[in-house]
Each structure stands twice: as structure tokens, then as C-alpha cells.
Symmetry: C2
Subunit: 389 residues, 2 copies
């Protein structure tokens, strides 16, 4: 994958192409945790109510100034929260614990060294490895880098994913749906998924059921993308141009048919050096094959662990799920996650794999591994989340 | 809140301003779940291997055509997956179960009515309430609406949140940080948070420690925003212009000081009819007051339940958390969520509330309610997630 340098505040959701080593301590100097007075603790060792000690206030330290001042014995400086301590100072006394008379500040108790001081490097130590290669930056990470003076950072370019929507029946025109055409909906969900993985979605258009049209589109955009996804046309009839094209043209492995249900007519091949993943056209199969093939592939391009989920949590299954067929497959059941009685539950959303309402109702999916014939009510199962829905 | 109409494919992450009632059945007609032949099941009641029944193939039904055809007794039609059944047909026989001879199709077994048929309305029934007011649409919801022919939808406008970064020490110039200035970092995290809640972030600039400057900025942008957030200057010193300004100008309730730790110098007032929320300047306090005041306020504007978290999950605490002070406060501890031995754990990230690395290392937060002095190792606690970090 190519690399590019981006402004640190544009780096959120981008992926690091090398480990990040802290270039500096954070904070870079000792700083005050309170509004009060910076002191040398040695000066106040004998201070008490009966024998107060008076120090001369020689300056005010505010945030936004580097330490420009040195406290000599017998002096103090007014200091605000977040300001750097003057050299020589090793503690801060809150303002409500002192009396100020002119330029004299009166202290009535000794002070522990480093009291109310945020020590240099307490947050991040110079040389510390903060992030590994393949780490996807959060905005909170970007803000941390910026705090260390990092203005820009090298990241992987976004993998460019060329998406083909295949089928004579498809249209982008709502008017045409009244004449029986099918709206090109799946592309929009795939777009959102690609973008949420950190990829760049490139729509290559609605392709008619014609292998030549498919071939021309793939050739014309070959240099522009890192990967192709076709939606629909992945089954085994004479109209399934995605699988026909890929089976004929693949220059590497060609896999057609997955032990994944729904999703068994998915597959992939290679056009030159670039993968083409066959997403089936029924929405639940589109989604499952995206999560089990396209999602880990995009992660892999970004040097991330090729997981089939974004994150996951444990939940209690509300009813027994039985798999009547495809026992040796990975079976995927989408679920809604609910809270009740201080617990997390998941409710299976059954339905045909053409059910457009299932992704809408679902939060994530549970899986039945090969050999599993049922998952019983009350089981604590992993609910796997896609990067978005 | 004002409303606006947006294209259905631009509606993801927008919030419905009224319930959504399904305008049509989905699918709108019975459709085929297989590639095969549409039949009238009554025609095949007596079909068997020894006494096959032959029907005349009168057409091919492909997806993208409305039902334009009527099967009369003795006829069948080739049908592809997703195509609508012709009128009169009530079942589909897979292509691998028949023999085709010219225009005759030979069947050797009877067929159950509705076999391999996706019934009209199986997915969504016309008149069904799909979403309530205040529902935040996912792309999967938008795709479902589009499938029902919905081209645009009414949503609330995005709440416009005016953000003021307060402090003489702040700069947006990385060069100036080398001379001791403090980079305006928090604004970028707040921007991301506001946007993730469905708000529109409007930066009103870095404001010097001068109540007049603050007042002028607020006045100049009063009509442009629904809500103000100030970052920093919320404490009690003479330099804390956000709290000084708000205490003097608030036309409604003025709350300063929260039983929230970190975050106790947060607060809010009203400038005219618009809330101004005081986010403290130390990053963990900024975050906590955002989550406990600003986040529910933005949700409320969008007619959503005013929660202080986006979602939450249960995790086992890896070590006892003790609260030494502020026992009658809500105490917030940010945590990292980890998986081990097929379980979910959370690890507290201690540190000063100025620690810029804490949000970077954290996934969410746990809370100690008023009265709670410790949460013991091994407790199953809720980890609350912000909408982003």
C-alpha cells in the first residue's frame, strides 16, 4: 500500500504505516495542577501557624509561557493551573492556603515535594511506543500527537475499492421502480461499509447482464483501484455474469461457493494482481460475504489483523437457534441487542436472506461454527458488530 | 427544532422528526426465491415419476419487470430469483427438478403452495410503524426506505453547536507552541464528538481571557446556533472568563459546580433562550462534562432519550477501583476494554485529569454512583461508550 502524509487533525480514522514513538515528554515540563504559588519545598520546612514563613512574590506564571524564571531561596511565584513551574520550584501551594500582603506571601505549613505538580513526562515518556503499525487513529490519538507538537503524520492511503452493481433489473431512478425496475440499494450499504473500514468507495456503475460490459468496466478502472467488489450475478445461472466473468478471467485462485450461510454463492478471483470479490445479490448474503471476505481483505491491505468483525460483545441468547441445514457451514444469524434486568441479551432476527428489514433491525451477528446444529437459549454468545450498518 | 427534507441516501445518521409508517408492502408482490419455473400448484397435484405432468412454458419472468402475465391452467413460466410471480402462480419449482423439451416443461412431483415464494409483505407490511420519532437512521434503514420507493424523508436539522475555545495561552499555530503557547487541541475532540452526536460543529474561535471578547462573540453568533459550548475558563479564578461571563449574563438557571469528578468545575447557564455549557479545560473534565451535559442536551434537541452514553456493554473489572474523595459525587473512570479467555474485561486508566493519553488509551468509562467508595475487582460493570473518541 502506498503512503501519504496528512495533517494531524485530518488523521482520525487513518491507519499508521509505521510505529509511532513519542518524540517528547508530555507534559514537556513540570506544571501546576492548581491555582496557587510555586515554591521551593526546602524553604517551607519549618513553616507552622505559630512560626509562619514569608516569601517574596517575584512573578506570575500563566499557561502559554515556557519556564523563563528561576526561583531563588526566599522567593515564590503566583502560578495558574496548567502553567509550567519556574526552575527551582518543586511544589505548588493552593491560593486558599496562603495570605498575601503586598509582595509578601505567608505560608503556615510545610509542603511535600511535588505537591500539586504534574510531573514532566507523567502522561507520555519520550521514546515510548504509543502506537503500532496498522493502528487506526482515533481523534483522541490525533489530539495526543498534536499535544506533542506533531503537525502531520504518515498513513496508508485509503484502499480504493471499485464497486460494480450487476443486473439488467437495476436502476438508480426512483421513477423507474414504479415500472418494476429494482432500485440499486445495496450499493449504498456497501459504500457505507467500505468507507467505515477506512476504504475509498469508487462506484463503477450499474453493469448490465453482459460479461463484455463487465470486462470493459473492470479493464477501464484496473489502474484506479486496489480491489473490486461485484454485487449480485454471483450464482450459477447463465445470467450470473459476475461469476462467469471471474471464473474465465481469474489469473490466480478462483473460489466460487463458500461454506457460509447465508452467502454460499459468494466467492473471489484475481484480475491481474487485484482481488475481485463476488458479493451475492440477496441482501443478507451481500452483507455476510462482505464481512467474511471483503472486510478482512481491506483490513489486510491496511496491515491490520484480518478480522471478520469490527468489535464484539457477549450477550445472552433469548431463544434457541436451530440450524436445519448446512451443518458443516459457518452459519450467520443477525441479532438485535437489548438490555433487560441489568443484563445484555440478543434476539435472533430470522427471515429470508432477501429481507431488507433484517439489517435495519439488527445490531450485529452471531455465528454457528461448522458442526454446530443449535445454540441453546441462555447461552452467552459473542455478538459481532460490522463497522457500520 | 427546525425540519428539513433530505434525499433518502443522505439520511443516514439523521434523526426522524415523525414516526415512519410503511407506505407499501415489501416485497410489493410475491416473488421467486429460486431460479426455476412458476406454476399453479393445483396443476401438479397428481404429478409423479410414473405419471409426469407437462406444462407449456409461455414466458420468462426476470427481476425488474412488474407482474405482466397471467398463468392459465396448463401453463408455466421460466422465472429467475427475485422476479415477481405471474398472476395465478403460487409456487416455484427449482430448475434442477424439471425436464425441458421445447416449450414443454415436465414435472414429476406435486408442489406445496408457496414453495420457494417470498410472499408479498413478508419483510414489511404496509401500515406497519417502522421507526419512531427521534430514531436515528442507519444506512440500513435508508436502504429499507428506498426499497419501498421512498426517495426523500423529513428529518430534524442538525443542531448547530457554537464552540468557543477560551484562553490567552491557546494557539492553532504549531510554530507558536515552541514558544510555550498551548495548542488548541480540545476543540478538535469536541468537534468530532459534536459531529458524532448528529450536531453541526461551528467554531467561534479562540477567545482571549476577556469577558468582553467572549460576550461579543456570543452576541455575534447568537442567531446562528442552537447551543454554545465553551472550553476552559470554567473554574473560579479571576481569569476564568467563561464562568464569570455566564454567571453575569445567564437569563435562566445558572449552575456552576457539578457533583461529577473529574468535571466538578463544569456548569451551564442560558444566554437568552440558548444553553451555554461550561466545559472545563483539563481534558478528562472536558470529556466528562461533555458526556454528562452536552451529549444529553444535543440528544434532547433531537427528541432522543437524553442518555449520557452512546451504547454500553458489561465487562469484568480487572482491579479494585477506590474513590478516596468526592464520595457523594458521580465518579468517572475511563477504561480500556480487553478480551481474554472468552471474556470481556475492563482495565481502569488512572491518571491526572490533564492526561492527554487517557482518552487515547480508553474505550469508554465506568461510573461510581454517589455513596460508592469502591468497585471491587471482578465486578461486572457497565462500560459506557461515547459516540466517538
Amino acid at each position: 500500500m502506498e503512503k501519504e502524509r496528512v495533517h494531524v487533525f485530518e488523521s482520525a480514522e487513518r491507519v499508521l504505516c509505521e510505529p509511532f514513538i513519542a518524540p517528547t515528554d508530555l507534559p514537556p515540563y513540570d506544571s501546576s495542577h492548581m491555582d496557587g504559588f510555586a515554591v521551593r519545598s526546602a524553604d517551607l520546612q519549618t513553616a507552622s501557624l505559630h512560626s509562619p514563613i514569608s516569601l517574596k512574590n517575584i512573578a506570575t506564571c500563566t499557561p502559554g509561557q515556557p519556564p523563563y524564571l528561576r526561583l531563588t531561596p526566599g522567593t515564590t511565584a503566583r502560578i495558574l493551573t496548567g502553567a509550567y513551574l519556574p526552575e527551582g520550584a518543586d511544589a505548588v501551594v493552593p491560593q486558599e492556603e496562603v495570605t498575601v500582603e503586598g509582595d509578601q506571601v505567608i505560608f503556615t505549613s510545610p509542603v511535600t515535594p511535588y505537591q500539586y505538580v504534574d510531573l514532566k513526562g507523567f502522561d507520555v515518556k519520550r521514546g515510548q511506543t504509543l502506537f503500532e503499525e496498522g493502528h487506526r487513529l482515533k481523534m483522541a490519538d490525533a489530539v495526543l500527537l498534536a499535544s506533542m507538537g506533531v503537525g502531520s503524520i504518515e498513513v496508508f492511503v485509503k484502499p480504493r475499492v471499485g464497486v460494480l452493481a450487476v443486473g439488467d433489473e437495476l436502476t438508480d431512478d426512483f421513477g423507474e421502480t414504479r415500472r418494476g425496475k429494482v432500485l440499486n440499494t445495496h450499493t449504498h450499504l456497501v459504500k457505507k461499509l467500505v468507507q467505515s473500514c477506512g476504504g475509498r468507495f469508487i462506484f463503477l456503475g450499474i453493469i448490465r447482464d453482459d460479461p463484455i460490459a463487465l470486462q470493459e468496466t473492470v479493464q477501464n478502472h484496473y489502474n484506479q483501484v486496489h480491489m473490486f467488489l461485484s454485487i449480485a450475478g454471483s450464482s450459477i445461472s447463465e445470467k450470473d455474469v459476475s461469476s462467469i466473468f471471474t471464473s474465465k478471467q481469474s489469473t490466480g485462485a478462483f473460489v466460487h461457493g463458500l461454506k457460509l450461510q447465508p452467502g454460499r454463492v459468494g466467492g473471489f478471483g484475481f484480475i491481474g494482481e487485484k482481488p475481485l470479490i463476488l458479493l451475492p445479490g440477496l441482501i443478507m448474503s451481500t452483507l455476510n460475504v462482505f464481512m467474511f471476505l471483503a472486510y478482512p481483505a481491506i483490513r489486510r491491505l491496511l496491515h491490520q489483523q484480518p478480522l471478520f468483525y469490527h468489535h464484539r460483545l457477549k450477550a445472552e441468547l433469548t431463544e434457541t437457534v436451530r440450524f436445519r441445514k448446512y451443518h458443516d457451514f459457518v452459519k450467520v444469524v443477525w441479532v438485535s441487542v437489548k438490555e433487560r434486568d441489568d443484563k445484555v441479551f440478543c434476539v435472533p432476527n430470522y427471515g429470508e436472506s432477501s429481507g431488507m428489514s433484517i439489517p435495519s433491525r439488527s445490531d450485529g451477528f452471531i455465528i454457528g461454527m461448522p458442526g454446530v446444529k443449535e445454540i441453546t437459549e441462555g447461552s452467552k454468545v459473542w455478538v459481532h458488530y460490522p463497522p457500520t450498518l
